[in-house]
Amino acid sequence: MSKASIEAYARALFEIAEAEGHIDTVENELFHVARAFESNEQLRSTLTDATIPADRRQNIVDQLLGGKASNTTTQLVSLVVGSGRSKDLPAIIDTLVKRASSEKELEVAEVRSAVELSADQQKRLAAALTKATGKQVNLKVVVDPAVIGGLVATVGDEVIDDTVRTRLEQLKSRI
């Protein structure tokens, strides 16, 4: 799928979410759906399997998100899956999130942590990242056990990595 198509889908989803009046919630939920899609091989292969009828794949989305995410989020994901663009779902959502953030003059700060961050930690972390990068950030925390411990933050092109995983990799390469 071309970049222009991704942009077009992202814009359409953004406008729908904005029209529904809860863009912040939808944008946040979509972000987590995209990360789940990326990390879950089974989910990815099921939603991108062209041999499974589109309505069945949409049913799967409804079952997975129903009751856990807002209706708008579920319907938007279902829309993308039904149109056969599941493979590009993360790219479409990331573009949407960037667009939503830039509307508020924020930079998306994706933070990966081995454990959930408390609200206080997220607040202090957002402030610290704003101070470090000089940009107001839209913090997105992804729980990723693979980092083992510590955090890695990606703000635009800048990556601040202080995870146990990276330290172990450095140690391994030194060994």
Partner: protein, 181 residues
Amino acid sequence: MIIRAITLFAAEDHTVTHNWLLPETAEIIYGGLASLLVFGLLYKFAGPLAKKALAARSERIQKELDGAAQARSSSEIDAAEIRKTLGDIASERSRLLAEADVQAAALIVDGRNRIASEIADLEAKAAADLVAARGRGAEELRSEISLLASLAVPTVVQATLTDQTKQDLIEEFISSVGAKR
């Protein structure tokens, strides 16, 4: 006269001789004359032939003598040549033997040197192989230890990483990022 003589002879008794040893005079005369005639004819006609045959025989014998002399001379030359050749062969044999001795001695020296050099090379190679094998063994051991360590460290770290430590790491990250700029 001849007829008279014949008549005389015919008139005589031919079975009786005048002497028990000598023939009749006329017989001696006629016999003598006949002998002279025969010898004269032989001398005149057979003499030159005999002389010629003798001369030819002499010439042939002379030729044979000359040929024999020439053959002898040639044989003597050949004999001298053979003797000379024999001498040369003996000299060549001595020279070849001496040369072979020199070459054999050189070969022995060369062979000894080569063997000594090969032994030295083999010893050096064996020593190098030994050092390399030692190095390889140490390297393999080091690599094995590194591999085991790299496999064990994440497991050990994950097993010993408590929730409190994880929270401490998060706080440390926030503090360090906030301290930037």
